[in-house]
């Protein structure tokens, strides 16, 4: 996906002015946040399992090399071919090559954010392969030619009416507005593709080293059609998704659907270990597992390693008040919300990420919601530190911080400047005590007044009080 994060501020501004989007976002918020809260409350031992889950992920990252090799060995033993892609380009090339060698003309896909990361659809389509997204949300977006705006609910920014328009156009049938009827129509449109695809591409929420298993967690069952019907099944996922054991998986799967949508378990949870075996009713003849690095190993052993714990539940964005107001597209790359404010700069370059590390008030809603305890605000702050050190922020901001830093270290100067500032600003506030516009601070005063200081600083008044008491 093309990185457009440099335009975060402009795009956020557009989204704030988009009344339709605002309405759609408001509807979604309650569902995610309240649903998760309820599931967490019912669970009872959330914090304990969360702490354990963070350890499970840390152990996986500490043993990443060994676990990956173990996974490869076990998956290979079950007939799968494991491919290693160091870059996005390599991942695409591997899959395009598999398609070419096997004469693949049609691919069905279940949801995979890594495939968005590496631009897989574009690459396959350029090679003449038809790609059909089968997750309902992804299907809608493919019709709309839009990228996902959320990692779990990709079309959350769209209303039922917008989808109805898209379906009417794409399916050439009377416009439907009842959701069950609309999903039935989409299902009918997809059914033919499921049966005629030569290759199915899925992601994998985790890959399990001790068994060589990949897996999908969905609510629609589409992933099962993608992974079992076509003669070739390709799994694409990030190398950081490896975990040691089935036991580890049991821990993490208790957290994932609860954190994502408030479900105790997803409708479909499918573990896939190897090919169709003699006597199996279904399953692919070939299975390829493409493990993608694309920047992940660079995080190992560094200050951002904790981000690799992420299990892609989306709770951080669901709980982020910035995301809730602007939606996912404003973030300009694959991953929105707090997760994206970290993954975008670390995967595509801090210099290409614009304001993303600054798109947070550090309210800590995300780190509290994160099921694997990623300290998201702290990681964003580290990126801000790098922006600061590399002088990537605009010069007026850097000047302002330098001036502030100079003054706060010098108490006498600071006392003088703050006393002056309090007087001037108080005068500017007039009788109402409100400043309506302030040069350099229009970010504030465009939508808010600045309550003015009252004329004298605490320091001055306290000094006077001390004098009087003597």
């Amino acid at each position: 996906m093309q990185v457009q994060s440099m335009f975060f501020k402009q795009r956020a501004s557009e989204k704030l002015g988009d009344a339709l989007l605002q309405g759609n976002m408001k509807k979604a918020k309650g569902k995610f946040v309240d649903g998760r809260a309820k599931a967490v409350a019912e669970f009872g031992v959330w914090e304990e399992v969360r702490t354990h889950a963070a350890k499970v992920r840390d152990r996986a990252l500490a043993n990443l090399d060994a676990y990956l090799v173990e996974f490869e060995r076990n998956a290979t033993r079950r007939g799968a071919v494991v491919h290693w892609a160091e870059t996005a380009e390599e991942a695409c090339a591997i899959i395009a090559d598999i398609a070419a060698r096997n004469g693949v003309r049609k691919v069905t896909k279940s949801k995979s954010m890594v495939s968005e990361e590496v631009n897989l659809n574009e690459r396959l389509e350029a090679a003449g392969v038809q790609v059909v997204e089968t997750d309902l949300g992804e299907y809608i977006l493919q019709l709309a030619h839009e990228p996902p705006s959320h990692i779990v609910a990709p079309a959350v920014h769209k209303s039922k009416e917008q989808v109805a328009d898209l379906f009417q156009k794409a399916h050439g049938k009377p416009r439907l507005t009842e959701i069950p009827a609309m999903t039935r129509e989409a299902r009918e449109a997809l059914r033919g593709h499921f049966l005629t695809a030569d290759m199915g591409i899925s992601g994998s929420n985790f890959v399990i080293a001790e068994t060589g298993t990949t897996l999908t967690v969905t609510n629609e069952g589409n992933a099962d059609m993608v992974t079992t019907i076509p003669r070739i099944h390709v799994v694409i996922t990030g190398i950081e998704k490896v975990i040691g054991t089935m036991e580890d998986f049991a821990t993490l799967i208790r957290l994932l659907p609860r954190s994502a949508v408030g479900q105790t378990i997803a409708n479909y949870l499918t573990l896939t270990t190897g090919l169709r075996m003699p006597g199996d009713a279904d399953g692919p003849e070939q299975m390829h597992i493409v493990l993608v690095d694309a920047g992940r190993t660079k995080l190992l052993g560094g200050p951002m390693q904790e981000m690799l714990r992420c299990i892609r539940c989306g709770a951080c964005m669901n709980h982020c008040p910035v995301y809730q107001n602007i939606g996912g597209h404003a973030y300009g790359w694959v991953y929105p919300g707090p997760m994206g404010s970290i993954l975008t700069p670390v995967y595509v370059g801090l210099e290409n990420a614009g304001d993303l590390p600054n798109a947070a008030t550090f309210c800590h809603e995300c780190s509290v919601a994160c099921p694997v305890k990623i300290p998201l605000p702290e990681l964003m702050r580290k990126l801000r530190e790098e922006q600061f050190d590399r002088k990537l922020r605009p010069w007026p901001e850097r000047m302002a911080i330098a001036a502030w830093a100079f003054a706060v270290k010098r108490p006498a100067l600071y006392a003088f400047l703050s006393a002056m500032g309090a007087r001037v600003a108080s005068w500017m506030g007039g009788s109402e005590g409100l400043i309506h516009s302030l040069p350099g601070l229009d970010g504030w005063t465009k939508g808010r007044d600045m309550p003015a200081p009252q004329g004298r600083t605490f320091r001055e008044m306290y000094r006077q009080r001390t004098r009087e008491r003597r």
Partner: protein, 240 residues
């Protein structure tokens, strides 16, 4: 008991009354209060802007100024978070200064926590008639666990509390965020103001001046000249 008052730069500049209210409460409870004159800022604006070194320098400055105090109290959850959490968990982690900052963190309290948990006050000088709604500031709430303490104190002063929808939701201030990404910040603040209006309370009360200035700025801009915007210290000290 020698208590150092960390006034905070915003209170010093903009609302000295909050500092005096804190002073009144602490002295009224029998504390010997000192206010080191050289104090300026806890360093959080620099810290959150990526200026790690300046944040450390200011943390050391604060440490030196309050070294002799038995306790340090600040009428802010945000500055308290900086000195209680950021210093020990991040800025000085693994450094020789860490034990000093751990000591400082252990004796540092946000004002409502100090009044309720350390001084265990049973009454407050303020009398407030009417209904307020309380905004939980993010740092105080999620970093320090400030939640019931200010409500308890407000009720002690006679205030009725009408809880707003999403009291724990960020008001959009976020320090420099409110200027850098002002439009998003304003929208977040508008959400907060909608919740406040819906309660019908005559006053919105909080424990962090940054949030309060943000909320007041938005309320006034949208034509609300009546709803009072107060720090809980002002209410319970009887200076609201």
């Amino acid at each position: 008991m020698k208590v150092g008052l960390f006034v905070t730069c915003l209170v010093d500049l903009s609302r000295p009354g909050i500092g005096f209210a804190a002073l009144k409460l602490l002295e009224g409870a029998g504390c010997e209060v000192v206010v080191p004159e050289a104090q300026t800022c806890c360093g959080q604006p620099g810290y959150n802007s990526g200026g790690r070194e300046i944040a450390k320098e200011l943390a050391r400055k604060v440490l030196a100024e309050f070294r002799d105090c038995d306790y340090v109290v600040a009428p802010s959850g945000s500055c308290s978070g900086q000195m209680k959490v950021a210093t020990v968990q991040d800025l000085f982690r693994g450094e020789p200064d860490l034990p000093e900052f751990e000591k400082l963190a252990a004796k540092w309290y946000e004002l409502s926590q100090f009044l309720v948990e350390v001084l265990k006050v049973g009454r407050v000088p303020g009398k407030f008639e009417g209904t307020v709604t309380y905004h939980d500031s993010c740092s105080g709430l999620r970093e320090l666990g400030v939640k019931m303490q200010p409500r308890y104190l407000l009720q002690m002063a006679g205030a009725k509390i009408a809880e707003m929808d999403g009291a724990e939701r960020c008001c959009g201030f976020g320090g420099t965020f409110s200027i850098k990404l002002g439009e998003i910040s304003t929208r977040m603040c508008e959400g907060k103001c909608e919740s406040i209006r819906a309660t019908g309370a005559g006053a919105i009360v909080g424990g962090d001046l940054g949030c309060l200035l943000n909320i007041e700025g938005r309320l006034r801009r949208t034509g609300d000249k009546d709803t009072k915007v107060l720090h809980f210290a002002q209410v319970i000290a009887g200076e609201g």
